[in-house]
């Protein structure tokens, strides 16, 4: 019973890895690739749990703990890198002169309710 569920889990994790690989290759922006990397992390943690269930040893659960830690730090690092990098008009460095000019010419934002 549990063996069949573990096999289902392994197959689903491999399928998720394949789909995320497609998104990593095709992803138009860097953020898409990092999202696919998150799916990789989830699949890796699920595979670690499946390995520990299949082998009956807790060593793979320790691997899953470390993997979750490293994945969190990696995602935050990639997010900071995307935020700082010069991209398609969203980069902070490329926006400095524009926003200074905007602050000089148009002081009020055009739309939206006032902030509380």
């Amino acid at each position: 019973m549990i063996g069949a569920a573990v096999i289902v889990l392994i197959v689903a994790a491999i399928a998720a890895t394949a789909l995320a690989t497609y998104r990593i290759i095709r992803g138009p922006t860097h953020a898409d690739r990092v999202v696919a990397l998150d799916v990789f992390l989830a699949a890796a943690v699920a595979l670690c749990i499946a390995a520990s269930l299949a082998s009956g040893r807790t060593v793979f659960l320790d691997v899953a703990i470390g993997l979750a830690l490293v994945g969190f730090v990696a995602t935050i690092g990639w997010a900071r890198l995307i935020e700082r990098a010069p991209g398609r008009g969203g980069a902070a460095a490329a926006r400095e002169p524009q926003s200074a000019a905007r602050a000089g010419s148009a002081p009020a934002p055009p739309a939206g309710p006032p902030d509380p």
């Binding site: 569920a5 789909l19 999202v35 799916v39 995602t75 990639w78 969203g90 934002p109």
Partner: protein
């Protein structure tokens, strides 16, 4: 007694549900149209899938060391994945959208217009939000590294 007899069924049910949800999360990452939607699919469905898988493995576990380690994995994922996805969504928004559109959006209070230039005065309370978030993340990481060390020293088994 009847609960103990039903435990393998519960375990395999939770494991299969988590596996299916993980596959659905990856499928959503493939078919959804833009980065924010893809991240919505990956983060929410992926977190629930991992929680279900951890719960199933806890139901299938035989001794306390398993349950402690799985709880550690679960608490860690539930604590860190929302923070990581929040930062990633902010980065994706800045990468994808036009800067004028971001500045005109009324709903982004979290430092996005304030970070665009050093000359404009930041609205009050915009930056401390992300600072609190960052400190929360660091404190969680330190706490969980400590817990991991304790688990590896055999405190939980």
């Amino acid at each position: 007694m009847i609960f103990a007899a039903a435990l393998p069924f519960i375990a395999s049910l939770l494991l299969a549900a988590g596996a299916l949800l993980l596959a659905f999360a990856a499928w959503g990452v493939v078919i959804l149209p833009d980065a924010l939607s893809r991240q919505h699919a990956a983060t929410k469905a992926g977190t629930l899938a991992l929680a279900l898988v951890c719960g199933g493995a806890m139901a299938a576990a035989t001794d306390a060391g398993w349950v402690w380690r799985l709880l550690l994995v679960l608490v860690f994922l539930l604590a860190t994945l929302p923070i990581a996805s929040h930062l990633l969504a902010r980065a994706a928004l800045r990468e994808e959208t036009d800067p004028a559109e971001i500045d005109a959006a009324p709903l982004l209070g979290d430092g996005i217009p304030a970070a665009s230039s050093a000359t404009a005065p930041a609205p009050a309370g915009a930056r401390p939000g992300s600072r609190v978030l960052r400190r929360l993340g660091i404190a969680l990481a330190v706490l969980l590294i400590t817990l991991t060390g304790a688990a590896n020293l055999g405190l939980f088994s």
